[in-house]
């Protein structure tokens, strides 16, 4: 949101005054937020409306896939799963905070374009290519999550075309490769033009590494966690029940995928989607094992395809046996109901930033509009105060060195003459910020203390800097 406001003020699609993370946010919800900043200055309203718009875009892309793969009413009926809080990974990172909805949307549209590449109209094909061009301009990650699995599916189809369900014609291979080519073109632009021009951390810190057995187990179990597995809970609790259903759902998706792959007379487009899911999960798993960069949410672009695969499996089962089909759908819906109710309750009772809201209210009431905190607390504080209380994210509390990651490049404290605040968590006050916290406490600068935060107030930037351990030595 902070970047979006900056983009709106600069009137640009990318900000040259921003420290980007591993990717440039060429295609991201920030574009939408920046547009919405023209309508309103209420950050909560912009976030709520923008998130609903992103959810609608994700649903639309899914419906395009359903229509092109001829998944019919089953595919449509499973669409609520994309917005349901069954997953403690997908829901928070792709729906509520929709940064990961972008690769999901592009993934659905690209696969929809490729499953019947010859039947795609040129306007739709062009849209998908343009989206992939911009996607590539953001960074390399889309290659791993979307295009490498797609290339594997195409290669597999090419190698076994003699006994394939429906071998592609040469022209179809070419058309299916168009989005990949567009993405690569975008990535070339990223490397040659954009990356040198903007402040980008990039993938320079990602290194290859041999995985340990523990990492292999974690990466595999995170697939189950995606479906609503909550570790370390008693079996006789809602979380325990949800964990059982998550295991069952993982098995049902796997069984459904195997069933679709083994059938030779089913829906070719459905089979393509299923092959894509398996290839995407395999590529993701391998990259998570051999690269140092990993978070469970990186599975989102791949595992989002579980929903259409369930629809494909359901339709395939109907052709074999009505009884098996009904048993399958009852099991799937039942498990999703349990994980959704548990996940919904869990989401509605999240309280990560409730204490921060109290701190934000106090700082606003006392007229503070600039200060210091760690990256994890500062950005949230700014958003909760409608952008009124700005924060310099700090990476070192002994020197107040600014963190050069996901923040603007300027230094607002240089000519600032007003009062400033400092926020520490109890862990920071006892650890890296212990010396500063002790001096601020001794000088009676403590404004407010909650279980999660300590807020200090200073008359000026200089009076805070006088207390820094580096200055006093």
């Amino acid at each position: 949101m902070i970047l979006a406001q900056q983009m709106q003020q600069e009137g640009s699609l990318l900000s040259s005054n921003w420290y980007y993370s591993t990717e440039l946010r060429v295609l991201s919800p920030n574009l939408l937020w920046a547009l919405l900043f023209n309508l309103s200055g209420d950050w909560a309203f912009i976030r709520a409306l923008g998130t609903v718009c992103m959810a609608c875009l994700m649903l639309t892309s899914y419906f395009v896939l359903v229509r092109r793969a001829r998944l019919g009413v089953t595919g449509f009926a499973l669409s609520p799963l994309l917005l349901a809080p069954f997953s403690p990974v997908f829901f928070p990172y792709a729906v509520l905070l929709p940064y990961y909805s972008v690769p999901v949307i592009i993934g659905f549209l690209t696969v929809a374009c490729c499953v019947q590449s010859e039947k795609s109209g040129w306007p739709f094909r062009l849209l998908v290519c343009v989206l992939n061009l911009f996607f590539g301009m953001g960074g390399v990650r889309g290659l791993l999550t979307l295009h490498l699995p797609m290339l594997f599916v195409l290669a597999g189809n090419f190698l076994k075309r003699e006994n394939s369900l429906r071998a592609l014609k040469k022209r179809e291979y070419g058309l299916a490769l168009l989005p990949v080519v567009s993405f690569l073109l975008g990535f070339v632009i990223h490397q040659l033009v954009l990356a040198p021009r903007y402040h980008l951390l990039g993938m320079s810190q990602v290194v290859t590494a041999l995985p340990t057995a523990q990492q292999l187990t974690t990466r595999l179990l995170d697939i189950v966690a995606y479906f609503g597995f909550y570790p370390s809970n008693t079996v006789a609790s809602p979380e325990g029940l949800s964990s059982g259903c998550a295991l069952a759902l993982t098995l049902l998706v796997a069984m459904g995928a195997i069933f679709v792959i083994r059938r030779r007379d089913g829906n070719p487009a459905g089979r393509w989607i299923t092959e894509y899911l398996l290839a995407a999960v395999a590529v993701s798993l391998l990259s998570f094992l051999f690269l140092s960069m990993y978070a469970p949410r990186y599975y989102i672009p791949s595992l989002a395809f579980c929903v259409p695969v369930l629809a494909v499996a359901f339709r395939g089962l109907g052709a074999d046996s009505r009884l098996r089909q009904r048993a399958f759908i009852v099991a799937v819906v039942g498990c999703f109901c349990v994980t959704t109710v548990t996940g919904g309750w869990y989401q509605a009772h999240r309280a990560e930033n409730l204490e921060m809201k109290k701190v934000a209210t106090l700082l606003q009431a006392q007229g503070y509009d600039l200060g210091y905190a760690s990256q994890w607390n500062g950005n949230v504080l700014t958003e909760l105060t409608n952008g009124e209380v700005r924060c310099v994210p700090v990476t070192n509390f002994d020197t107040l060195e600014k963190q050069q990651w996901l923040t603007d490049t300027g230094d607002p404290t240089q000519k600032y003459k007003g009062r400033v605040y400092l926020i520490l968590t109890p862990a920071e006050a006892a650890g890296e910020g212990a010396a500063l916290a002790a001096k601020a406490q001794a000088n009676g600068k403590l404004l407010y203390q909650t279980e999660a935060y300590l807020a200090y107030g200073f008359d000026s930037v200089e009076s805070l800097k006088k207390l820094l351990p580096a200055q006093s030595e």
Partner: protein
């Protein structure tokens, strides 16, 4: 009968989607502090 069932499923699905969208929008508008994280707030 088949058409009616199909229509019912479509209407029910559309209703569920509507409820989900309203729930997401209202949750974020009324208490964004519950759901924010540093990366998305930036």
């Amino acid at each position: 009968m088949r058409k009616q069932r199909r229509f019912l499923i479509l209407v029910l699905t559309a209703l569920i989607l509507l409820v989900e969208l309203v729930w997401i929008g209202l949750s974020l508008y009324r208490s964004p502090e519950r759901y924010l994280n540093a990366e998305d707030a930036s």
